[in-house]
Every structure is written in C-alpha cells, then in structure tokens.
C-alpha cells in the first residue's frame, strides 16, 4: 500500500530547526568530494556577483561624472560617450563570463556528485546480502539510486549563485555606503527584511514540499503495483477500481501541489515587493538628502539602481534554503544505503579449481528465518542437515511452502543461515573469498531473471566464451531451437526492451546460463516448471549425459526428475522429515508417498470412477459435491 514511511527511515520528517545544520553538512560533503570544479563555479559566481553590483556602481559614477554634466551643459563629445558606455560594457562582459562559468561549472559539480553517489549506491546494492534486498522493495531501491541522489545534490544548482550573491551584496553594500551612508542604511534595511521573509517562506514551504514529494512517491507506487498486475487487473475487471485508487492519490498530490503553489504565490509578491518599497524609500529620503545638499542626484540613482539590481538575485539565498529539506531527506535515504553495514563478509579461502571435478556439499544444522513485513522473524528452516557426496544427485522434495527455495539459496550462499553451516568441499562457504561460491556453483532459480541484453549476453555472463560454447549450452537446455528462430539469433536482444520470451523459453535460457559455466555444483530450483513434459524429458536426458562432472541438487516434484537422484531429501515444514533413496522414502514416509504419487493415485481413482462409478472424492480433502448446494442459483 502507499508507503507512509517512504525512506524506511524511522526518524521520518527531519526536525525543521535541524534541517539547515544537517543540510549544510551534506553540502560540505559535496564540496569535499568535488572541490576543484565547485571552486571554479564559486569563482565564476563571485565574478558575476561583483560584476552585477559593479554595474550599478559604474552607472552611478558615470551618471555623476559624464551624463548629468552633459545634460546640464546641453552638449556631448565623442570622448564623453566612450567614457560613459565603455566601463558599462566592460562590466557587462565580465559579468557574462562570470555567469557562464558559474552555471556550467555549477551544473557539472551537481552531475558529477550525482554520478559519484549513484555509483556508490549501486556498489552497495551489489555488495549487500540478499536478505537486505528482500527487506527493501525494488521501487524504493531504484528511487534511492535515482530520485534521492538527485534530491540530495539538487542544492548544488543554486548554491554557487547564492555564494556569488553574497559577494554581490558585499560589493553593493560598499558601493551604496560610498554613495551615501544614510541612503545605504535605508536601502540595506531591505536585505534583512528579505532574509526574514525568505526564512519564513522556507519554514512554511518545506513541510509542504516534503508532503508533495511523499505523495509523488505514493502515486508512483500505486502506478507501479497496478501496471505490474495489469493482466490480473484486466482479467478481474478491476480497471475502474484501480483507476479510482490511482485518482485518489493523484488528487491528493494535486491538492498538495496547489498548497505549495499557494505558499509560493503568497511569498513571491512579498519578496518581489520589498525591494521595490526599498527603492521608493530611497527616493523619498534621497530627495530630502539632495535638498539638504548632502548628496547629488547620481548618488540617489546609484543606490536605487543597486537595490533593484540585487533584489532578484537575493532570492538565490532562498532557493538554497528551499532545497535544503530535499537535500536532508534525500541524503538520509541515500546514506541509509551507504551505511548499511550488514554486508556479507567473505573469507580469503580459494575454492577448488574448476578442473577438480564435482563438488562435495554438506549442510550442518542450518536454520533460517525471513524478516517479515512487520520486522518479526518468520522461521523457514530448522536444523537442516544433509550431505551430498561429490558427483551425486540429490532431489529436494516437499510440499508448497516447505522451504525448498530457501534451502537452495543457502547452498549457493545467496543468504547465510542463522545457525549452522553450509560446507562446500568441506569448507564453510563463509570462509571462501568473494565470488568463490559462484565459481563453483550455479543456481537456476524458480523465477528467471532475463538481463536487458542479447541472448549471448544472457547466457555468457562473463563475456569470454565462444559461440560454440554458448550454442552447446543452449542445445543442452533445449533452447537452441527457439534461439535459432529469433530474428538475429544469438544477437537478438531479449529482456526489458527486447523480444518477449515465454515462461518456458526464459527457463531454458536460464538453464543454459548455468550449464555454460560447467559448474561443479548445479542447483535446479523447480527450474523446468514452465517447460512441457517432452522437452523436460529431453533436457533431463542431456543432463544425465553431461552430469558426471557436477554434483546436482534438484528441487522437483516430478517423479522422472526425482528418480534421477541418488538420494531424496524430503522437506516438510522447514525440517528434513526423511532422507533416503526414492524407493526407501516411498516405503517409509507416507507424506512423501502421497506427494509424489498424487497424480498416479488421482489417475487411478478417476479410472476406477469411470469404470465403477465410485466417487473419487474420498478422504479428508474432498469438499466435493456438496459444493453445488452452496451456490445453487448459479446452476441453471
């Protein structure tokens, strides 16, 4: 459901008084990361600030020394024109240089920081254990790496300008005081008033902006969920209901955006009007000062002009303040990823070389629990012990939800057990170096992930194999046929932006991906569920032929698959309920027997029903015929 807690951050909305301090700390971090280019931006901005204020000063001086005397004299010389226009043009040129440097370098700083932290965040994604991944929804992680990084460093867009504005204010202040300290005093009163208005503005604004941001995330998650389930939405005719659900969040976002706009609309005129009022005050006081003979007309013009010049850029200070809440929230989310310390630790033990034949596998007293949606532990596996002699094939069989896939994940160290050990060739997998387990073992998961890449890129994840190797693996996975029929063969793009594959085709591609590596331990987690029986039989046959070089653990229901195994492990409620050969378990374990022979018994009972008219619905699980009475109106 729409996330109230978008960041997964327990502290929630940051304390407003705290925002500036924390925001500035993030800014400091950014500056330390990109000091040179940021320095260039600040220099450019200082030039811009000095130039802008300088232009007012120059205009005032030119008015007094050239323009006013010329008007009084009623004539003008060419030299006078140059004296007046030249300095103004020069200052304009310098200002323009300052602006382009400020904006270009400021933008580059921002994008460099974004790129740097996107890389850092994704590095964490690749480093952190899957248990961490499973605790964080994909949508949130995507937004951490994208929108949140962007929000964190967005402040660097107005930041150089606001520093330039500080320079501008200093220069303008000096120029005003030089013209007339009294007028400068009147004019500069505007600055603190503007600051105060800006601060109140940001105070009002930041919760509204944050609310709008949160609602934007809500809109996104509703859309994400709904589009992902589009097929089901359609088949259950839920379009109207889903549209209502979406419209409700979209309307909430609309209202939040209007609230943001209302505040902006209230403060914009105030912030715009204050300097204007300042100029008017300067004019009134200036007239009085001119009459008393303290100053000349040019001084009034200069102060008024300077004031109107700085009135707009001063807003940049407000922009920075306005960005800080986003910065703080963004950084909180980004740093929650960067600081996630529960990385999977690796040892430095080398795995046995690829040429050393099949791997031996052992699990000793392994227990595992998921962290549930409410943060509570949901135990999945209890004290699982098994060992697989190198080169043998073991089938893991168990009812739906008994923990088979979790066990498969433990074996290739996708997750670590809460208790107990997993041993590969007698070595605890936790002591193997990074990448060591993956070199030895290949897992074909139940649901396949197809990379946004070509067929070749999806099969050969290392990018080092020959086409012959790839085709050989595809053949073994019985995927060669459909791949050859694709428009560009191995070079056909599949995945998100490529050709769409059926479930069975995806599974066979994933199988080829595993086989091409010639793993010493092969794990198949119900990896052929979407492949039809005939093709599966062919695949199994191929595997059996190629199987001597690998130890195989297969999660399966099908008798043919199971019977390939030297040993069967029967998993029930997260515990190993029985181990032995298929025949032994058939004889000794009723739960196992009823599971694997379900179809056979079903067929037999149905045949008996057809012949003798006995109901197949015998025993405890048959809600069967009385059902007709529950909804009689539907049976016409």
């Amino acid at each position: 459901m729409p996330a109230d807690d978008l960041s997964g951050d327990p502290s929630g909305t940051p304390d407003r008084r705290d925002v500036v301090r924390r925001g500035l700390r993030v800014v400091g971090r950014g500056i330390r990361d990109e000091p040179v280019i940021f320095g260039v931006a600040v220099l450019g901005s200082a030039l811009y600030g000095a130039g802008t204020a300088g232009s007012g000063y120059v205009l005032g001086r030119v008015t007094d020394s050239v323009i006013a005397p010329a008007f009084v004299a009623g004539r003008v010389t060419g030299a006078q024109v140059w004296d007046a226009a030249g300095p103004i043009a020069l200052v304009a040129l310098l200002t323009a240089v300052g602006v382009v440097v400020r904006r270009a370098a400021g933008g580059i700083t921002m994008y460099r920081l974004q790129a740097r932290y996107r890389r850092a965040v994704t590095r964490q994604y690749l480093r952190l254990p899957l248990s961490w991944h499973h605790r964080h929804p994909a949508g949130q992680l995507l937004s951490n790496a994208n929108a949140d990084v962007e929000a964190t460093w967005g402040v660097f867009a107005p930041l150089p300008m606001s520093l330039g504005v500080a320079v501008m204010l200093a220069v303008a202040g000096v120029a005003m005081v030089a013209a007339d300290p009294v007028l400068a005093g009147v004019g500069l009163l505007v600055i603190p008033a503007l600051m105060a208005a800006n601060i109140v503005y940001q105070r009002r604004m930041s919760p509204l902006v944050m609310r709008a941001q949160a609602l934007r995330a809500d809109v996104s998650s509703v859309a994400h969920e709904s589009f992902e389930g589009a097929l089901v939405v359609k088949t259950l005719g839920r379009e109207d209901a889903e549209t209502r659900r979406f419209a409700a969040t979209a309307d909430a976002l609309r209202d939040a955006n209007v609230a943001v706009g209302r505040t902006r609309g209230t403060f914009d005129p105030v912030i715009e009007g204050l300097p204007t009022l300042g100029v008017l005050a300067v004019l009134a006081v200036g007239t009085w000062r001119v009459r008393s003979g303290a100053i000349v007309t040019g001084d009034v013009v200069q102060v008024a002009y300077l004031l109107s010049l700085v009135s707009f850029p001063v807003r940049a200070l407000g922009w920075v303040l306005g960005e800080l809440p986003r910065t703080v929230v963004g950084w909180e989310r980004v740093s929650s990823v960067l600081d996630a310390g529960d990385g999977m630790a690796y040892g430095d033990a080398e795995p046995r070389p690829a040429s050393s034949g099949p791997a031996a596998l052992a699990v000793a007293g392994a227990g595992y629990a998921h962290v549930g949606p409410d943060g509570e532990d949901v135990p999945v596996l209890f004290d699982v012990t098994l060992d697989v002699v190198a080169g043998r094939t073991v089938a893991v069989v168990g009812p739906t939800g008994s923990g088979k896939s979790t066990l498969a994940g433990l074996l290739v160290r996708l997750v670590d057990p809460r208790s107990g050990h997993v041993l590969l060739d007698g070595v605890d997998v936790r002591t193997l170096r990074r990448g060591g387990v993956a070199e030895a073992a290949a897992l074909v998961p139940q649901s396949t992930f197809v990379f946004d890449d070509t067929v070749r890129g999806n099969v050969d994840l290392t990018g080092t194999l020959t086409d012959d190797d790839v085709w050989a693996a595809l053949r073994l996975a019985r995927a060669d046929g459909f791949v050859a029929a694709l428009p560009n063969g191995l070079d056909t793009r599949v995945g998100e932006r490529g050709a769409s594959l059926s479930g069975g085709q995806r599974q066979r591609l994933a199988l080829a991906r595993a086989l091409v590596r010639r793993p010493r331990l092969l794990l198949l987690d119900d990896a052929t569920s979407a492949v039809d029986p005939r093709v599966e039989a062919q695949i199994l046959e191929g595997l059996r032929g190629a199987g001597e070089s690998a130890t195989v653990v297969v999660v399966a229901y099908r008798m043919a698959t199971i019977s390939l195994a030297d040993e069967v492990v029967f998993l029930e409620h997260g515990r190993v309920a029985a181990r032995g050969t298929h025949a032994e378990l058939l004889a000794s374990t009723p739960g196992y027997r009823s599971l694997v022979t379900a179809y056979e018994r079903d067929a037999a009972e149905r045949a008996a029903f057809r012949e003798h008219g006995t109901t197949p619905d015998t025993g405890e699980t048959g809600p069967g015929t009385e059902q007709a009475d529950v909804a009689p109106q539907e049976i016409s």
Binding site: I67, A223, R291, Q627, V630
Partner: protein
C-alpha cells in the same frame, strides 16, 4: 521539426503508430501541437484563463511603478524648477506603494488560479493516462515493459507540474512585461526603444536554433536516464541472479558506464543552457551601454531629460529581466513538452481491444458456451500463432487444453478472455461475439487465472477478496474452505491477516498461485480459464485443488491450460493444440486411442511420473 521529432516519427512509421504493442516513446508533435493536444486532454487548464490573464496583466502593470517613480522623482522631485521637494516625492512614493500592494495581491490571485487550473488538469491527465494504460492490450503481451510505463504517469507529468510551478506564470508575466516595457520605453524615446529591440533581435533569431539544440540535448538526457534506470534496476531486480553467478563486476561496469553516459550528456545540456542563458545576460549588459551612448548622443540638448534617460535605464532592466528569465523558462518548457509528449503518446495509442461500453451486450448469468469460428491470430510482426481455430465448448464442460510449448495454448486463453482480439474469425460466448460484450459483464462472468498471479502488498485476505467486490473475511474463509486451502492459510504466521509483502514476496511461488486461484474462485465467474495456474504447486496440493475445483466448477464452464496431463485426464473434454491448429477434441480415453500427438504428450508425462 527537431531531429528527435523526426526520429520518433520514423520509429512510429516503422512500427505502425496504431499498433498497441508499441507505445511510442513520445508523440511526434511539435511544441505548439503538443500543448494544443495537451490542453484538449486537460480542459481544466484553460478554464477561466481569460480572467487569469487579466489579473496577471494588472500585476505586470504594477512593475512599471519603479521606473515612473524614478523619473518623476528626478525630473520633478529633485531637479524640478523649485529644487528638491521631499513632500512631493513622499506623496509619489505612497501612491507607488499602493501600486506595489495591488500588484502583489493580483499576482497572488493569478498564481493561485494558475496552480489550481493546471494541477487539476494534470491530475486529470495522470488519471486518464493511467486508465488508458490498463485499456491497452499491450499489457497482456509483454510483462517486462510495464514498469517503463510508470514514468509516463509520474515523472513525465511531474516535469510539467514543476515547469508550471516555476515558470508558468513567469512565462505569462514575462510576455506582458515585455509589452509594457516596450510601450513605456517608446513613450520616453521611440529611438532608444528601437535600439533596445535592435540589440535583442539577433538574440531572438539565434534563439530558435539554440532551442533546437537544447531540446535535442534534453531528449538525449531522457534517453540516457532510461538506460541508466534500466542498468540500475538490474542490480536490484536481478540481485539473486547476479549474486548466484558472481557477476557483480560486470553489472557494476554496466551501471558505471550508463551513469557516466548520463552525466556526460546532462553536463553537455547544462553547458548549452548556460551558454544560451549567458547570451541574454551579455546582451542585457551591452544594451545598457548602448542606451547610455545613444541617449547621450541624441538626447542631450533637448529630446530627453536626465530623468527620462535614467528612467529608461530602469525600463531596460524591466525589459531584459523577462528576456533572461524567458530563455530560462523556455528551456524548461522544452523539458516539460518532452514529458508532455511522452504522456500524450500513451493516450494516442489506440486501445485495439476496446470496451463496447453502453452499446455492448450484457450477458445473462449462467453456464457459458464458447465457440471459436475460424480464428486467426498473430502477434505484431510475427507469424500466425493460431491458424484457423474452430472449436465448440459446451456449457458446463471442464475442458483441458494441451499441447507443446509454443503451440498457441496461452494465446487461445487470451482470446477467450478477450485480452486480445483475433485478426480474423470470431470468438463467441453464448453466441455473442466477444467484441460486443460489455467489459463490465465480461469481466464478471469470465475470469482468467494466469501463471503468475499478481499479489498486492496487502494482507492475504485483502488479496483474495480483491477480485470480488466487497467480499468480507467470512467469504474469504468460505472460499478457502471450499478449495481445501483453509489449513494452509491459517498455518501462515498471521493467518488471513498475514502481510504478503511486495508482489507477495513473503510467500513462495506456489503459495502465490494458491492465492490467485482462491481470488478467482471468490470472484465467482461462469467461465473460469486457468493458464498453468498451478504449475508451481506440489502434486498433492494440486490434486487436492483439482478435485475441489471439479466439485465447485460443476455447473460452470472451465478451461484449463496445463502441462500436467493429470488435468487432461480429469477433464470432460481435451483440446489438443499443435502448431496453432486444433488437432483433436475429445475425452481423454478417446484421444488416447486415436490422437498421435496426445499419445506422445501423455506418454512423456507418464514417463515423468515413473522412476526413470
């Protein structure tokens, strides 16, 4: 037309713009046409726009208060024949202050009106686009592209909203301010006014090609953002696979490359924008110098007063301000129209599987008879998947459809539930062409359970009740009891109240299928279509469900697509599909004696059930 426009048109032409399998990345319209179409979709935006413009004009008029006050102060207040007159200037200032106040109030009103109108329009746009996405049959074809559509109703619309929050009124005001400033400048000195316009003219001419560059740069940035998100999402969505295969290095390289490529084009766009903005700044500064020079040369000696020249300089500021802001706002506008185009592209994609709506037929409830009449179907750009299927399924029949992978079984199910329409032939329910059946009636009577039952991030009970409008916990409990699944549900950590997590990730694949099945069952359809609905469920559970379904689907029609021949054995009627054609139809034991393909399928299934 910009190159991006051209590119997207070419792309559309290549794929066929009305082919709903491809939603164009952006509509092929130019800026004006985009805005026009956008306003058509969201009429709220232009509602009351005249009043808004009027109010905005008042607020613009207020801006000239300062230059006029400066001129009056200098010419009459300070340099007047009577010398400096503070009283007069204070009076002037007071009057001007009232003007400032009025400006402020009208600016607030105009702002609020704009925000209300546009946000209402954008909410409508979002909702319309959202609904339209659900109406497109493309969704039933490619699951992996759906995520990409999310941005069309989120960030693309946000771009427009952001633009309007920052630039909307500014754009209106800037235009007004330009006009007012020009008029006033002309009043003071038409020669100088001409000079100002003359200086800016080259900028206006240079602006269009520059805009094109900027727009192209932004388009590139958007493409790179897409690539980058794609690369990043692999590290998240494919985390299991990446870990299992130890390909973190390669994945990181790809992400780094995509991130770098994005940063590069974003920086280039930034430099371009900076350059175009600076052009405005430079000209604005030089204009002041030119006005001073020309003002001195022509004005001294009669045609201008000192006050007028100085006031003119303030007016120049009033003129250059909007020009500078205008370049900024127009750059943003490029970005916003890029977003707008992408949203409109969704709406422009025709929903080829359209709801006949009110004109449609509402089927009465009761067992459904299904008929396929010479049905042909092919996916866009592909070979026919179904080749002239004719088939009759009597009411109350329990039908199994079997065949090898790629034989067209799933497509058959899609056509039967109208997730797609045949290119040729008809699919009839109770003698009515599916295309004439109202969606509200169709979805109530026909339910498909797909292989991947989609789960919402909610409780188990809410997920099961999702298809049946307003079903309560008792109904959910009853449905689970009838399917023999109550024990399983109650065995979960919090029973019916168990949170299933994002996409149901707290449950196993098989358990998710159980939820989808219970959900469809509770929706109580007259025709139930099961597409590999129990492929990940263990055999004992599957048999149990199968029997439960047998019981409860008596009196209804059910069509099951299955690999497992146990389903076929139990069915009243088996349809054997091979290479897009129906090979045979009949009960299991009859097919076993006469249909070669069925015998083969059955034999390999039996072989799987036996120890090898």
């Amino acid at each position: 037309m910009s190159t991006t426009d051209r590119a997207s048109r070419t792309a559309r032409a290549a794929t066929g713009s009305h082919d709903s399998s491809t939603i164009a990345t952006a509509s092929g319209r130019g800026v004006v046409a985009t805005v026009r179409r956008g306003l058509e979709v969201s009429p709220e935006i232009t509602r009351g726009v005249r009043v808004t413009l009027l109010v905005a004009l008042v607020s613009t008029a207020g801006k000239v208060v300062v230059p006029i006050a400066v001129q009056q102060t200098i010419d009459r207040g300070i340099n007047g024949p009577a010398g400096p007159r503070p009283g007069l200037v204070v009076g002037l200032a007071m009057a001007a202050a009232v003007g400032v106040l009025l400006t402020g109030v009208s600016s607030y009103v105009a702002n609020l009106r704009i925000f209300r109108a546009t946000e209402a329009g954008l909410a409508t746009l979002r909702t319309k686009a959202f609904r339209h996405v659900h109406d497109l049959s493309v969704l039933s074809q490619n699951a992996e592209r759906r995520g990409a559509l999310v941005s069309r109703v989120t960030s693309d619309v946000d771009t427009i909203s952001t633009f309007i929050q920052f630039g909307g009124l500014l754009l209106v005001l800037s235009t007004g301010q330009l006009l007012v400033a020009t008029v006033l400048m002309a009043v003071y000195s038409w020669q100088l006014a001409l000079l100002v316009w003359g200086c800016f003219l080259p900028l206006f001419f240079a602006f269009r090609p520059l805009q094109r560059l900027v727009s192209r740069a932004y388009a590139q940035v958007r493409v790179r953002v897409g690539d980058m998100l794609g690369a990043i999402s692999e590290s998240v969505v494919g985390a299991d696979t990446i870990r299992a295969y130890g390909v973190e290095g390669r994945t990181q390289e790809r992400i780094d490359a995509a991130v770098g490529a994005h940063a590069k084009v974003a920086m280039r766009a930034q430099v371009l924008v900076a350059a175009s903005f600076t052009g405005g700044v430079l000209v604005s500064g030089l204009v002041v110098a030119a006005v001073v020079a020309v003002g001195l040369l022509t004005g001294v000696g009669g045609s201008l007063t000192l006050g007028e020249l100085l006031a003119f300089l303030f007016l120049v500021q009033l003129f250059t301000g909007p020009v500078q802001m205008g370049t900024e706002v127009l750059n943003e506008l490029q970005n916003a129209t890029a977003g707008w185009r992408r949203v409109l592209a969704v709406l422009d994609t025709t929903a080829d599987v359209a709801d006949p709506g009110e004109r449609g037929v509402a089927l009465p409830r009761g067992p459904i008879e299904c008929r396929f009449e010479d049905v042909w179907f092919s996916y866009p750009g592909g070979e026919p998947v179904l080749k002239g299927i004719s088939l009759e399924l009597p009411p109350r029949a329990r039908v199994a459809v079997v065949g090898e992978t790629g034989s067209g079984k799933t497509t058959l199910a899609k056509l039967l539930t109208r997730l797609a329409d045949p290119q040729q032939g008809r699919v009839l329910l109770d003698g009515v062409d599916l295309r004439d059946v109202r969606f509200s009636s169709l979805r109530e009577r026909v339910v498909l359970v797909p292989q991947e039952g989609f789960l919402l991030d909610d409780t188990l009970a809410a997920n099961i009740a999702w298809g049946a409008h307003g079903a309560d916990d008792d109904a959910v409990r009853l449905a689970l009891t009838e399917l023999g699944l109550l024990d399983w549900a109650l065995g979960l950590p919090h029973g019916l109240a168990t949170e299933v997590g994002q996409r149901g990730e707290s449950l196993s694949a098989g358990e998710r299928q159980l939820v989808a099945l219970a959900r469809a069952y509770l929706a109580d359809p007259d025709l139930l279509v099961l597409d590999e609905a129990t492929s990940a469920v263990d055999p004992a559970t599957e048999v149990r469900i199968q029997r439960a379904l047998d019981g409860v689907t008596q009196g209804r029609t059910s069509v099951a697509i299955a690999h497992r021949m146990s389903t076929a054995e139990a069915a009243d009627l088996v349809v054997v599909v091979d290479a897009g054609e129906v090979l045979d139809v009949g009960p299991h034991h009859e097919l076993l004696t006469r249909c070669g393909v069925y015998q083969r399928l059955h034999a390999s299934w039996r072989a799987q059930q036996r120890a090898a």
